[in-house]
């Protein structure tokens, strides 16, 4: 059902390029400039991934220093970003161009503020409230109107997913988000 047509698209890793071009200062500074421009075009605070539009994926890509692979399924497109640590973040974009879900897995925690975007505050507040406002450590499961977030794992193995129920394209099962 997933991956009807697979397009291996852009593989951009600006940071790797930076290292490779380290000896060539002129080229390196060009890259710096390009990154700065991208950062301006997609400022981190505004490039909320979950709930954001497809452009916001680029902000996440920069933040994660990730290569990107695009996969098209029936009802959505998946932008899969692999960070240099090996952590993979998958962003699910609806035909309407909205990121309706994100999922992550890998040895290092991705920047949850970046990939959860505007839902981050709801997530952290609910996470705190749910355990009866007691201190503690363990996986977090947040299920509230419109938003589901699961963040689990431990040092060297983190995984989770988040989706906005109102933005789920018709016919998409949340089990596909992983």
């Amino acid at each position: 059902m997933l991956a009807v047509e697979v397009q291996r698209e852009v593989t951009v890793n600006p940071m790797k390029n930076l290292i490779c071009f380290g000896k060539n200062l002129a080229k390196a500074s060009l890259w710096m400039g390009a990154i700065a421009l991208l950062a301006v075009a997609f400022p981190l605070a505004a490039s909320a991934a979950l709930g954001g539009d497809a452009f916001s994926v680029q902000g996440d890509q920069i933040r994660l220093r990730a290569s990107v692979k695009t996969t098209k399924a029936d009802a959505y497109t998946v932008q899969e970003m692999t960070a240099p640590t090996g952590t993979v973040v998958r962003e699910y974009v609806s035909p309407a161009g909205k990121v309706f879900a994100v999922a992550w897995r890998g040895p290092f925690l991705p920047d949850l503020h970046q990939i959860l975007g505007a839902s981050f505050e709801s997530f952290t507040q609910a996470a705190h409230a749910q355990k009866g406002r007691r201190p503690g450590h363990g996986p977090v499961v947040v299920k509230q109107a419109g938003l589901v977030v699961v963040s689990a794992g431990h040092q060297r193995d983190f995984f989770g997913k988040a989706y906005l129920t109102d933005l789920l394209p018709q016919g998409v099962s949340t089990g596909e988000i992983r």
Partner: protein
Amino acid sequence: MTRQNIRKILSLFLFGALLFGAFGLIVGCGGGSSSTTPPQTITGTGSNVQAISVNGGPQSNYADAAFTSITVCTHGSTTNCQVINDVLVDTGSFGLRILGSALGSVTLTQATVNGNPLAECFAYLDGSFNWGPVQTADVQIGGETAHSLPVQVLDDAFSVIPSATCTGNPVDTQALLGANGILGVGPEQYDCGSNCTSNIPAFDQYYQCSTTTPSTCSVSSAALTVQVQNPISLFTTDNNGVIIELPAVTTPQSTITGSMVFGIGTESNNGLGTATVVEMDPVNLIFTTTFESNTMPDSFIDSGSNGLFFDSNSLTECSDVNYYCPTTTANLSAVNSGSTGTASVHFDVQNADMLFNSGDAALPGLAAPAGDNPALTEFDWGLPFFFGRNVYTSIAGTTAPGGTTPYWAYPPN
């Protein structure tokens, strides 16, 4: 109250009465189905032994967490020291993090990169993080000392927090942390490792800060020698792992005490005994738990998780908090298997509302869902797993008896 609600309560009551009756019958017949608990010896004294306590911590609100005392000294001094109580014992992380406010007048040596002060942003999966400088100290735990140990000093006032990359909510006060520090004695030495050592690091965790006021910080590499690291790794002896020994608990207790024993098979008091070694995946530090016929490949043992966290097809969730609330204690079992080694485990899940209502700190059978059943696949064996069984955590790259490190070991039952 609607009629439906009354009916629900009545049926719950009847169900409970039935269960109680059945239980009574079994006991009456002189035997249950629960397995025998292996004998447990808790080591009392020794140069490699440090007392630990499940007591709620400094805020008296931290359930199912073990705390200990450490002594932090200025490097090279045995007199310029501060005893820090209520430090969380965490076999799931690596490195010591202490509140700056708990250091008193003791000053530590600031670690530097390129001459600039080094700081760290250590993120947690709930969107919180620890922020503060990396400083080196001589740290005594029991009779062991880690000399020149890089530790994270939690202090939001150290600098402007670099919010572009260090995101979320800082938890750098006793009120937020529920502890005066976290003693990470897990299965690795370095808290980041090679992902933080490149000029442009693969992961944003370490920062170089300016010496201006206010100080500002930007992402930095950090050589292994300056990374926050497991104190056990810097002990001169008994440096291949740790045993956490806590007594069995069947009802909530205000305080229980036990021991943290350093080294595995290095002294007469830290042999494997009846424990079975279960080797973990050396990259992701996980093993597979089989529970309710489900295979959960992301499973792990972690004294710093304050409950058992797993998805279940049979347990009822509480209505008010995100924990399990079975009507009567559920006697369950699972099997843990690693790349080498398999060990069974019988465990209980108790009603979390009842446990929390006790107001006590040591809550046996405290358990909660781990995720979005059945998509997620972890069994997090937190502190309740440690009650009544000695649990061994060996450190990657060291030699320890019974298997290849990193591994966990415990007496199967």
